[in-house]
């Protein structure tokens, strides 16, 4: 094949690039509103289960607060808190924290804490634990995460915040002990942080 002049080659590539860009741009414009609505719905939907027994009248996703590291919460990246209000009074805070000491990769955990310091619900947002063993921390796969509802820093005492084989009060998961240890530690660390920084969290 005869070789082409560079200008023609470049022009062909540029024209095809322009057509492809137009294609992507059109699709983007046609889908962006739906995608934004989906993201917001997913967030509200995933935050709600961690608020069992809490009455609130504020939009949860609007009250987002980012706590930059170092903050003392589990995980070394920025932590996210959603504040929940009823008649302008704070009723609960939802922490999105990261446990780095799981079995494989980090575990994103949503911890809901009432203004009095009791757990209003825990959900696992993201993890890569072993299917069939460690993944029982998901609320869809077992009841394991529900045992934290209503617990607080004094209930049980510090030594009780562990799985039973370690002398604690919480159920373990057969075949996985690293995963529950990491989750329990993250919940307790979040409670400790909330206890120390309650006013700051609701102030901003």
């Amino acid at each position: 094949m005869r070789s082409q002049p560079i200008a023609k080659t470049g022009l062909t590539l540029a024209m095809i690039a322009a057509v492809c860009t137009a294609l992507v741009a059109t699709t983007y414009l046609a889908t962006k509103d739906r995608i934004a609505a989906n993201d917001k719905a997913l967030l509200e939907q995933s935050l709600q289960p961690a608020l069992s027994g809490i009455f609130y009248d504020s939009g949860v996703s609007e009250s987002r607060l980012v706590i930059p590291p170092p903050h003392g919460l589990p995980g070394s990246d920025a932590a996210i808190v959603y504040r929940v209000y009823a008649e302008d009074e704070p009723v609960a805070a939802l922490f999105v924290v990261t446990a780095r000491d799981g079995f494989s990769g980090s575990i994103r955990i949503l911890v809901g804490i009432g203004v009095d310091g009791t757990v209003t619900g825990v959900r696992i947002l993201q993890h890569r634990e072993t299917p069939g063993l460690g993944d029982k921390i998901e609320s869809a796969r077992s009841n394991w995460v529900f045992q934290f509802d209503g617990r607080s820093l004094g209930n049980p005492q510090a030594s009780g915040w562990a799985i039973r084989v370690d002398g604690g009060e919480f159920d373990q998961l057969t075949g996985a002990s690293i995963t529950p240890r990491a989750v329990i530690k993250a919940i307790r660390d979040t409670l400790i942080y909330f206890d120390a920084h309650r006013d700051e969290v609701f102030q901003e």
Partner: protein, 202 residues
Amino acid sequence: MTQSGFIERLRSGLWQDNPGLVQLLGLCPLLAVTTTFVNGLGLGIATLFVLVFSNGLVSATRRWIIQEIRIPIYVLIIASLVTCVELIFKAWFPTLDRSLGIFIPLIVTNCAIVARAELFASRNTIGASLADGLGMGAGFAALLMALGAFRELVTYGGLLLAILPPGAFFSLALAVAAKNATDRKLQEKQRSTMPRSLRQTR
């Protein structure tokens, strides 16, 4: 394009030259997402869509595609189509999009697609290329769905291995073996129905 030619393209993609079973292309997504039937179906449809349109576009522009820069052009076309598919999935099938995750953008790197552009679409008419994309895409999607259903059922039946990565390799090996066994049986059947005089000369 004639009707027999169209059927020939479909048969080639679905069975004789199945991208997964025979050409063994695109194994990364194939092994990674076939943990459930629905995941297999979702990625299968996404790949089918990209393959049909990339074949069509490559074939339509084949007169202007310059030999030296054909690969960057294929990559550009395929990447744009995949981005569109990703946006469409995010907008209308958000649950499926979340469970497939990174494997939708990774369709760009599925070598089955660039292989069809290079081997078929760049030298054939638009009609034939669309049929080829449809056949190859359907063949790939069918394999993804079959593997997904198989692994999900076996896992549900109690054999946890099927859903773990090694299970993906075992399942694919079983599928390839089954295809080869069927082919051999068909061949033997054909041979036994041949006239005696022909059989003796073999």
